[in-house]
Every structure is written in C-alpha cells, then in structure tokens.
C-alpha cells in the first residue's frame, strides 16, 4: 500500500514537472519538423530538417542581435556591479552629510513605477541623439537601486576592521572596494550579477522604444518583431526557430549554474 502510494505520488509529481518542460520540448521539435507537420506534432516529427533555421537566418540577423544583447547585458552588469558597490560602500561604510537622505531617495525611487518615466525618458533619448545607439540601451540601466541596497546590506556585514587594516596598508578607497570588499562579497556579486544580466538580457519594452535599426536590435526585440511582423511569411517553424535561438543561451547557462540562478533570483525575488 505504501509503495503504491509513493508510485502515485511520483507519477503526479512527474506529470506536473512535465507540464513545465514539455512545452519547451515541443517547441524545439516543432522548430526542426517539416512545416506541414507542426499542426499534428506531439512527440517526434517523422523527419527532421533544419530548414526553419536556415530560413530564419536568411531573414533576420540573429547573430548580430546576439552580439548586441551580449554587449548590452554585459556592459549593464559591469556598470551595475561597479557603481552599485561604489555607492553601496559609501552608504554603508562612510559618514557624510546627506547620507540618509540619499538612502531614502533610493528607497523611494524603488517604489516609483516605471510607467511614469517611460515617455519622458524616451524624449531624453531623442534630445541626446541616442535613439538607435547603444547608449540608449545601456546608460539608463547602469545604476540600479536594488543593487545599491543589496551591496549596502552586504557590506554592512563586513567588519570595519578589515577596511581599517587595508587603509593602514595604504589602500585608497577604490582599492578597498575592488581589492578588499569584492573578494569578500562573492555571494552578493554573483546574485546581483545574475539578476542584472538576466533582466537586461530579457528586457524588451525599452529596446522596442529606442531602437529602430535592425543592426542594433537586441535578441528579444528582434524575435518579438519577427513574431508579430510579417517577415516570417506565416511560416510557423521559422518563428519557433527564432524563439529557440532566443531561449538557448540562457537555458544553457541555467543548466550549468542552476543552483546560482535559483538562489540569486529567489533572494532578489524578481522575475525575468
């Protein structure tokens, strides 16, 4: 009886896990199935073909978009880590006038919905002449309130004696941040790095607004426009192939660093 119960339990669990995995499996299969089989596909197509992929590569510069996404997401992640730790350090370890004020301003901006600044931010980009440049994709995201708060929290747990000792050794403040605090804050850096990278990799609304030139588009934007526009010529497999390409880099990274992904995103409590 107990054994029966446990079989039932695992069957139910497996079915629910399949609910989350099978659609992705179907998508991959559909992207390598002949176009006319997709409508009936459930498990395995009768023959495999890469024609959807070759057609997609002909139609959209997905490789260039991958590079763009990589440049944008890496620059943002780098900026967020550097600026975040600088500001987090000042807010946690240095005394200065206005410190609390700045801290509360940061907290306040976190509660501010982005919907309010969307239109004026676009206009700023227009006025700067940043439309259709990497600047528009990167600069507004270089500083992130959440990362500042997280760095601040983490640095607070690091004893002051460590910093004082470094100062006695003649380290300047930047050296303290990057030579002393960084090696001691790897969990925070990994967490902030992963969530920032993920968020900027998957961002799509902002690129849709500020980028019009195809050669500068990020991957999610290119795939979105491909999916809603007419360029897929109603070929379903081609659309799915582009979606597979978009998912692939992150899924690969996820397979290798699953634990870090889950921990990071859970600790920040954000999605995407």
């Amino acid at each position: 009886m107990k054994k029966f119960k446990s079989i039932l339990f695992y069957t139910a669990l497996t079915i629910s896990a399949l609910t989350f995995v099978y659609p992705f499996y179907w998508m991959v299969m559909a992207s390598i199935a002949p176009e006319n089989e997709i409508g009936n596909l459930t498990l395995i197509p009768t023959s495999l073909t890469l024609s959807s992929y070759s057609q997609m590569l002909d139609k959209i510069p997905i490789g260039g978009a991958f590079i763009n996404s990589l440049i944008v997401a890496s620059s943002i992640t780098f900026g967020v880590l550097v600026f975040g730790s600088m500001i987090g350090y000042a807010l946690s370890k240095l005394m200065f006038k206005g410190r609390n004020l700045i801290f509360y301003v940061i907290i306040f901006t976190m509660t501010l919905p982005f919907q309010i600044t969307l239109i004026p931010q676009y206009i700023i980009m227009v006025k700067f002449g940043w439309i259709d440049t990497y600047w528009a994709l990167i600069v507004p995201y270089l500083i992130n309130a959440l990362s500042i708060i997280m760095f601040r929290q983490y640095f607070k747990s690091i004893p002051d004696s460590l910093i004082d000792a470094a100062r006695l050794d003649g380290c300047n403040e930047l050296q303290i941040i990057f030579r002393i605090l960084w090696p001691n804050s790897m969990p925070a850096i990994i967490t902030i790095g992963i969530i920032t990278f993920m968020a900027s990799w998957n961002e799509v609304l902002w690129p849709l607004i500020v980028i019009r030139e195809e050669s500068l588009m990020t991957m999610p934007q290119l795939v979105t426009l491909f999916a809603v526009g007419g360029r897929a010529e109603s070929q379903l497999g081609v659309k799915l192939a582009s979606a597979v390409m978009l998912a692939l880099p992150i899924v690969l990274a996820y397979l290798f660093f699953q634990k870090y992904f889950i921990q990071s995103m859970a600790s920040a409590g954000i999605k995407e």
Binding site: N36, K97, W130, V139, R212, S215, S234
Partner: protein, 430 residues
C-alpha cells in the same frame, strides 16, 4: 554641497559630450536618397542612381536603404524627430504625407520648376486631386501602387462547379456555403471560403473593409476636408456583408496567421491580397496548386467599375534638403517611362501612371506576366488615401467598430458605422 554640484556639472557635461560625438558623420555633398529595404527595390535604386551619377557628375545622388527593422513609417518618424531625414524618400505611404506636411518638414513640390507639367503628364486629374494637401499644395509625387484584389484557388472554384469566382455578395455567400466543410465530423469547420486577419490593428482594414468600401462606393472618400464622409450606405453594406461572412463561419474568426499559410495550404479558397502574393505563392505553393486574381466583391446590383485600394507609396523631398530642385530633377528620371518599366521588371510593383495597361511600351512585360496584367487593368480604378493628418487614428477607430460589429456581432452595422463616425468627429474637434 558645492562640491556636489561641481561633480554633477562635470558628469553632466561628459554625458553631453558623449552624446554629441556620436552623431556627426556623413558627408553632405551628395543628395541622400532613402529607398525601401526590399531587395528588389535596392537593386532598382542602384541602377537608377548609377545612371544618374554617370550623367550628372556635379549633382551626385547617394542611395541608402531605409535602416531595416521596424516599419518604414516609424523609421521616417524617428528621422524627422532626430532631424536626420534624407533629402529624398521614395516609400512614403500616402496617408502619412498630410501629417508631415502640416509639421512643416516636407518641400511643397508644386513650388519647384517643372513639377506640375510633369505631374499632369504622369497622372490624371482624379489622382492629382487625391494627393493634394489640405492647404492646396502638393507635397508628394505618386510613384507606385499594389492594389488589393481577390486571389482565388482555381481548383476549388472548379470543384464548386462555378464558371467564375463570385463577383457580388450573394454569389459570395452561395459559394461560401458550398465550400464550408467539416471534414472530420467533430462539429468544427475545417475549411473556409475566405480569411482576413481579425486583428484590430488599423492597417489590417486595408485588406478587407477599405478596399470593399471603395469597391462598393465607386471610390468614395472616408473623410473629406476634416469631415466624416464614410457614414453612408456603402460602409454599412460592407459591414453587413462581412458580418454575415463571420456569423455563418464562412470566414474564420480564429487567428490563422499563427500557423501555416492558409491559402496555399488549401484551408481557404480566397483571400484579399496584393500582387506581392504572386512571388510568395510561386515560392511556397504545393504541386498542382493554381490560382488567379479577380476584382473585389461588390454589393448586388452594383453599377460601374470596381474600385479598390492601391496602397500608394509616393516620393517626397524633406525640408532638410539643400537643393530641392536638383532632387526633383533626379526624381524625374526615377519615374520616367523607362524607369517605370524597370520598376515593373525588377520589383513587380505597378507604377502609378495613367494608361499603364494600354501603353504599348509596357506590352512585353505584361505578356510575360499575365497575372500582373490583371493588376494593371485594375490600376485605372485604384484609390489611395484621403488627406488627413490623423488618418491612422481614423482607421483605428473604424477598426475598433469593425471588430465589435463584423467579427463579434455585438452591434448592428448601422450602429457601428454611426459610432465610428461620432468618434472620428470628436477627433476632428480636438
């Protein structure tokens, strides 16, 4: 605090410097001509500019495809906003011209030497009236059209034992009823006589309501001098016709575009579409598939020619151009008879010129491309768009009522047209 401000100023300045350094390129010597980014049109532009540059060493023209990606309308708007417009743009949707003209970014072409003579040579008076702006000036020269017609599957029409595809609404209903089928007996229709995107996006109405309205009304305007003109029996007839098609499930209400091409897959027998479908069909059609084009259906008892929408793309000169007269001289060579033939041969798009199908100069092309001949014959009865700076919104408001009435049957056609007219009138009041 003083330091703080100094720092802010320094950082702000560096931001500004970065932003300034990023948009200083392009030599301004040659005229810049933006063509569409369609491969064939790029080829056409290259041939034309090469020829011109050879003959006019002092007036060079550089062509450049519109940056690829979004709709060309969005790209042009971004260029206007960023003041990076080209000198010449050849793919301006006629419906956008009025808004740009009113914003003062286009050159009034009728002020240029030789423009009006050339225009009267190329177009008949109806077309000229159509492209005139509300202020009486002309900001565009008609270039090319892609008329919307009814494409049909010849084998299906034969299967239905019809001698010709349906021409009037009642014939359309009959054929649809015969064609509709539930193959597997699961209670769901598996093939429909026709299909049109049910999406509410404004330009989808170019492929159903608008050409049908032009067909029914003999080419009547939607709006005229900032007043609603579409609240008439024709619009109501078109709404009733399409509503019936959806109600009886002759057209699928479900979005079919998310799967394979329904017309080529034999899931539908007809579709409203333009000449670009020819290249697509030749590329993807299954063996034995035969198709042809005919006029848009009209109400029973319709008299006179059958009009349709031509999706006109016109050429404009932006005010950023320093030498509009040279630009115009170049444009003239782009749209003369020889170039128009090249346009046909290279891109399979129709030049918008009078007597296209009767001019023997184009004979050979149409003999070799019989399907294009149908479009050339139609091109006599083609309408573009009305002059209004808010045309997109007008289409959008009609489209909203279209969805509620035609697709979901929530309103009668009379109510829907009335509501659309009221909404558009509000727009004009603003």
């Amino acid at each position: 605090m003083k330091y703080l401000f100094n720092i802010i100023i320094v950082v702000l300045l560096s931001y500004v410097l970065i932003s300034c350094s990023s948009n200083n390129k392009d030599s301004r010597n040659a005229l810049l001509y933006w063509c569409s980014n369609n491969t064939d049109e790029i080829k056409f532009a290259k041939i034309n500019t090469d020829e011109w540059n050879k003959n006019n060493p002092n007036d060079q023209v550089k062509y450049q495809p519109v940056p690829e990606g979004r709709s060309s309308e969005e790209i042009i708007l971004a260029a206007v906003v960023g003041k990076t417009t080209p000198d010449i743009y050849s793919n301006m949707w006629q419906g956008d011209v009025e808004a740009y003209a009113q914003a003062g970014v286009l050159v009034a072409l009728d002020t240029l030497k030789g423009f009006l003579d050339f225009l009267y040579e190329r177009c008949d008076s109806v077309v000229i009236e159509e492209i005139k702006s509300l202020d009486g000036h002309i900001y565009q020269i008609p270039w090319k059209i892609n008329p919307i017609m009814l494409i049909y599957n010849i084998n299906f029409i034969n299967d239905l034992e019809l001698t010709s595809p349906p021409k009037i609404y009642s014939e359309f209903f009959d054929a649809s009823k015969k064609f509709q089928k539930d193959f597997d007996g699961d209670g769901y229709i598996d093939r429909w006589f026709g299909y049109s995107e049910v999406e509410v996006t404004w330009w989808q109405r170019f492929f159903d309501f608008y050409p049908l309205y032009l067909a029914a009304s003999g080419g009547a305007p939607l709006v005229k001098n900032n007043q609603v003109a579409f609240n008439n029996e024709y619009a109501i007839e078109v709404f009733s016709f399409l509503q019936e098609m959806y109600k009886k499930n002759y057209f699928s209400k479900e979005k079919l575009s998310a799967r394979q091409d329904v017309f080529l897959a034999g899931v539908t027998a007809t579709r409203f579409t333009g000449p670009w479908e020819i290249a697509h069909a030749e590329k993807f059609k299954p063996k034995g598939f035969e198709y042809e084009y005919t006029f848009m259906p009209v109400p029973d008892g319709h008299q006179g020619p059958v009009y349709t929408y031509g999706d006109p793309k016109n050429i404009v000169i932006f005010k950023t151009c320093k030498y509009p007269q040279s630009a115009w001289n170049y444009i003239k060579t782009m749209i003369d008879r020889e170039s128009d033939l090249k346009l046909l041969e290279i891109t399979n798009q129709l030049p918008r010129r009078k007597n296209l199908s009767s001019d023997t100069f184009f004979n050979d092309y149409f003999t070799n491309n019989p399907k294009m001949k149908i479009f050339a014959d139609q091109s006599v009865y083609v309408k573009g768009t009305d002059a209004s700076p808010v045309l997109k919104e007008i289409f959008d408001l009609i489209s909203q009522q279209y969805e509620a009435c035609v697709v979901y049957g929530e309103k009668t056609p009379e109510e829907a047209i009335n509501d659309a007219a009221d909404a558009v009138n509000l727009l004009f009041l603003e």
